[in-house]
Amino acid sequence: MWQVTPAGDRGLLVTLGHTIDPALLGQVLALDKALADRRPSGLISTVPAYASLLCHYDAGVTDTARLQASILELEGHLDVALALGSVLDVPTRYDGPDLAGVALATNLTPAGVIEMHAGREYLVYCVGFAPGFTYCGALPDQLSLPRLASPRLRVSAGSIGIAGRQTGIYAVESPGGWHLIGRTALQLFDPAADPPARFKPGDRLRFIPTS
């Protein structure tokens, strides 16, 4: 059951589920596309993330009841198969300040952490938090660690971190509480580019170790 709740006086949040699951992301992206195609009156923009979709609307044109009805009539009528695009390579130098600590906490060698992190394909679940920040999953269970007890005030652009069953790429300098294991020279956010973010939810990527 989708749940539609007000997010202030200009937003409706559609919650499709409560887990990190490729099938749920597929539903979110299918709903996003269906709304983009149908353009219900008053809908201004949408924001997908993991298992939910935020709909910003013009309160002078529509109201929550009407927009909610346009959203809910799509439930059960979407093609939810995730379109599988090509896999993008993210060249990665595994020299992050937390690599040794992650190895210690996971009973692996640093080389083992690298092999495990780089050894699979990831799905992009969300671009959010900060400009271009790319949330990917799922990390192997063995690499799953709680966030840092005390977040760093500055994490440099290009840093690659892990937290829980997620791995992510910091596209711009920001604070951050993830364990930093590497970095990439790939530019993930460019305000002069269209679109400004390199990745979008549903993309797939792979970390390629470089020296």
């Binding site: 202030g8 006086d9 200009r10 949040l13 993330a49 305000p191």
Partner: protein, 301 residues
């Protein structure tokens, strides 16, 4: 041109921001006190999307190489006239000084501040280090061009006091429950609205941390969700973060309620130590509050 003689504490170019790009991780941005910025533009005869200067705590000193008409609105400048057109002679200066009561004062210049738009807006985006002309707050020695956006006559009298928002707390801030209300116990919102919250020193355009003396809310964890300005996030320690215009586009702490758009302007003026009380309203009252303020902007006082 306008020369920045002294930049003040944190002065940035802002307009109505760049909403709609949250899916790329961008905040909507724009003037934190959207109402004061709109009034300042109205006083000098600018359209509402003209870029203005947002001054924080201590404003700048500016020298004008050509005659200009400016206006200050919002937090109270202790050195310049507030809420009225100020004619500036060629070569003359404007000093804003300390801002109190209130936290943010908006300087509109007839014609608008003309810096190159980035992603559809002239607003400085701190998290992305772009926009606002320099990709940073103003510094001494910066030069700002003035545009040609003035499409109405400047007002001839001060903006009426009856059509201003309060500049000092205690603040009554209206909220709509949710979107993650069900991550909390059934009486949580009622307990929150019964609490006098206190603004901590940790406040900026991204959000305001509030303390809730005598109240420690608890929630269950949620999967990262998209966030809006006004979302009242409850952190694991039980404190609140009220997201503002430069908020993170997604968040992992549940939002118990969301501040209505009209009252985001109030929070932009809140200072550390101020008291904030939240009041639960429905969308009809939120819409009425919005129409009241936009109605004031359409007046011809």
């Amino acid at each position: 041109m306008i020369e920045v003689v002294d930049a003040g504490r944190w002065t940035t170019v802002q307009d109505r921001g760049r909403p709609g790009l949250e899916r790329f991780g961008l905040p909507p941005g724009g003037a934190a006190d959207w109402f004061a910025a709109a009034v300042a533009n109205r006083i000098v005869g600018n359209p509402q999307d003209a870029a203005i200067l947002e001054c924080t705590a201590t404003g700048p000193t500016l020298r004008f190489s050509a005659a200009a008409v400016v206006a200050l609105a919002g937090g109270h400048s202790t050195r310049a006239a507030n809420w009225q057109p100020i004619p500036i002679a060629q070569g003359a200066s404007l000093t804003v000084g300390t801002i109190a009561p209130g936290l943010r004062s908006y300087i509109a210049v007839r014609g608008g501040i003309d810096v190159p738009p980035v992603l559809g807006s002239r607003s400085f985006c701190q998290r992305g280090s772009f926009g606002g002309g320099f990709g940073r707050p103003l510094q001494r020695g910066d030069a700002l061009a003035v545009g040609r956006l003035g499409d109405r006559d400047p007002l001839s009298a001060p903006w009426p006091e009856s059509h201003r928002l309060p500049a000092r707390g205690p603040w009554e801030v209206r909220v709509i429950p949710g979107p993650q209300l069900d991550a909390f116990a059934g009486d949580a919102l009622q307990r929150l609205t019964a609490t006098a919250c206190r603004v901590t020193p940790e406040i900026d355009r991204m959000g305001l941390r509030l303390a809730t003396p005598g109240l420690r809310l608890q929630s269950h964890e949620i999967v990262t969700v998209p966030m809006t300005a006004g979302a009242i996030q409850v952190t694991p320690s039980g404190g609140l973060i009220v997201l503002h215009v430069d908020h993170q586009s997604t968040g992992g702490y549940p939002a118990i309620a969301t501040v209505i758009t009209a009252d985001l302007a109030l929070l932009a003026q809140a200072r550390p130590g101020d008291t904030v009380r939240f009041r639960n309203v429905d969308p009809t009252e939120a819409a009425r509050a919005w129409r009241r303020l936009t109605g004031w902007l359409e007046l011809d006082p």
